[in-house]
């Protein structure tokens, strides 16, 4: 199990135990983490699972020129360097202990 902590828009935190192999979006929605909408269910179609990864790991930065990169330009909350669509991030042991910020708006 990988422990991930979400900082919610109201400032409160929420820790979940995620199974490696699923997407970060799936881990968040199946644990009912508020603020991650994910209407398209993980098809990189809707950009409503936007999160900020609090990390300096270059491997976790959104790949340049990807569909995700293009979509992140139009998320409801402002894009930052550490912006990701959580449906495109796989939960690995590497993410254990990570802190993830949930933006105030998704749509």
């Amino acid at each position: 199990m990988t422990t991930i902590t979400f900082i919610l828009p109201d400032g409160s935190t929420r820790s979940i135990a995620a199974v490696p192999g699923v997407s970060l979006m799936k881990a968040a929605t199946s644990n009912l983490v508020p603020g991650i909408v994910a209407e398209c269910g993980g098809n990189a179609s809707c950009a409503t699972c936007h999160v900020y990864l609090v990390t300096s790991d270059p491997d976790l930065i959104c790949p340049d020129g990807s569909v995700e990169d293009e979509m992140l330009d139009f998320t409801a909350a402002p894009r930052r360097t550490e912006s990701r669509l959580s449906c495109q991030v796989e939960v690995t042991e590497h993410l254990d202990g990570m802190v993830i910020e949930v933006p105030a708006a998704q749509v």
Binding site: T29, S30, L32, C40, A44, C46, V67, M71, F74, V107
Partner: protein, 406 residues
């Protein structure tokens, strides 16, 4: 004294979203889903996309522990058999009766049945449930001859999966264009060309007349000739499942008629959401019934807010998408046949079609262009304003990017 609690008739994504949103909003009374299918609520959009190709394996929305922890009772395999709006009760196929303070119809839609579709023949498939998708996935084997009847989103998604699996694929569509209901003709032509380039035969303006076969289908007879077939997949649209509501005395017209709060007129405690609801759309000013996951989720959430004490008219922007092979189609807003359409191709395979009504941009269809789709959703939902005249010389994504970097 009325019994508190919400009964939701249905077990799809609209039903699950209604229940989960109620809990998220702090609703504390009992919630019961009558789920009909033998499975917990699952995502339907992937069934005709990644699920039949084997790319997506898990479609279940929430595991049973989530419902248990939230105090939501999901009765799988149980259907509602009757509703009494006066007594505020629902009878079930399990033989019991439930009282409700609020009732939500989330009964979905069912595939249209066609006069020539013989139920006695093996090898004739349709796709609505996960079980049907699993069965269809097994049928899509290399060199099998697959005839897909219906050139809408679902039919073309199945055709893509079949072509990808190495099948010999023919799509038969009665209308003159593919995707006539959902895509403007310039983009529909691009989609048709992409399917043909993968070796799929597209027969438009062609009507199926009969199926041939003794125990198993062997051919499809059309008004333009006979097609040999190892399997036939019918994707010819759907109708609302509104029979139970009609029996209970609610007004229906291929959909349960609801007001802007998604409430059945004359019944302040009965709502309908998702595929089964016909609601007044503020943008087109039409009574619409939409089959999309956006509509299912957003209407479910809207009704959950109403039941929790914060009713507001439903006015979310409609949007759809379809993945066909490596082609991504996205639609934001609803185009009407009489709208003006401006087609734009960027020269690298990306396309957009802008629908203009009364001088206003009302819908944007895109091919392989997620940025333009998302920009369109920002503009059409009024989160950001761009005059329709501005897209004569630029794209929405370029205009919004320029604004954001300014």
């Amino acid at each position: 004294m009325r019994t508190p609690g919400v009964v939701i008739i249905g077990g799809g994504q609209a039903a699950a979203t209604t229940a989960i949103t109620l809990r998220r909003l702090g609703y504390g009374e009992p919630i019961t889903l009558l789920a009909q299918e033998s499975a917990l609520p699952y995502q339907r959009p992937p069934l005709s996309k990644g699920f039949i190709t084997g790319q997506t394996t898990s479609v279940t929305l929430f595991e049973s522990e989530v419902y248990a922890a939230q105090g939501i009772t999901v009765r799988v395999g149980v259907t509602a058999t009757g509703v009494d709006p006066v007594l505020h009760t629902v009878t079930t196929s399990a033989g019991d009766s439930l009282s409700y303070a609020a009732l939500v119809f989330a009964t979905g839609s069912q595939n249209r049945t066609l006069p020539w579709a013989r139920a006695d023949l093996a090898g004739v498939h349709s796709l609505r449930t996960r079980d049907e998708a699993e069965e269809l996935g097994r049928v899509l084997q290399p060199s099998r001859r697959i005839v897909v009847v219906g050139g809408g989103f679902v039919g073309l998604e199945i055709a893509s999966a079949a072509a990808g699996a190495g099948c010999d694929v023919t799509v038969v569509e009665v209308a003159e264009h593919l995707l006539g209901r959902v895509l403007s003709s310039p983009l529909a032509e691009v989609v048709a060309a992409r399917h043909r380039a993968r070796g799929t035969r597209i027969l438009t303006g062609t009507r199926v007349q009969a199926l041939i076969g003794d125990a198993h289908v062997t051919a499809v007879v059309t008004d333009r000739g006979t097609l040999a077939a190892d399997a036939v997949v019918i994707g010819a649209g759907a109708l609302a499942r509104d029979g139970l509501a009609a029996k209970a005395g609610l007004a229906t017209d291929n959909g349960i008629l609801v007001d802007e709060y998604l409430r059945a007129p004359g019944h302040e405690d009965i709502y309908a959401v998702g595929d089964c609801a016909r609601f007044p759309d503020p943008r087109t000013r039409l009574g619409l019934r939409l089959e999309s996951v956006q509509n299912a989720c957003d209407q479910g959430a809207n009704v959950a807010r109403a039941i929790s004490g914060s009713p507001a008219p439903y006015q979310d922007l409609a949007w759809f998408w379809s993945d066909q092979g490596d082609l991504k189609i996205q639609v934001a807003g609803l185009r009407l046949p009489e709208d003006d359409v401006r087609h734009f191709a960027d020269g690298s395979g990306r396309h957009a079609a802008y629908a203009i009504r009364g001088g206003n941009l009302v819908a944007v269809e895109t091919l392989d262009w997620p940025a333009e789709h998302l920009a369109a959703r920002r503009v059409l939902s009024s989160a950001e304003s761009i005059p329709a005249s501005a897209i004569q010389s630029s794209t929405l994504s370029a205009l919004l990017r320029a604004r954001r970097s300014a």
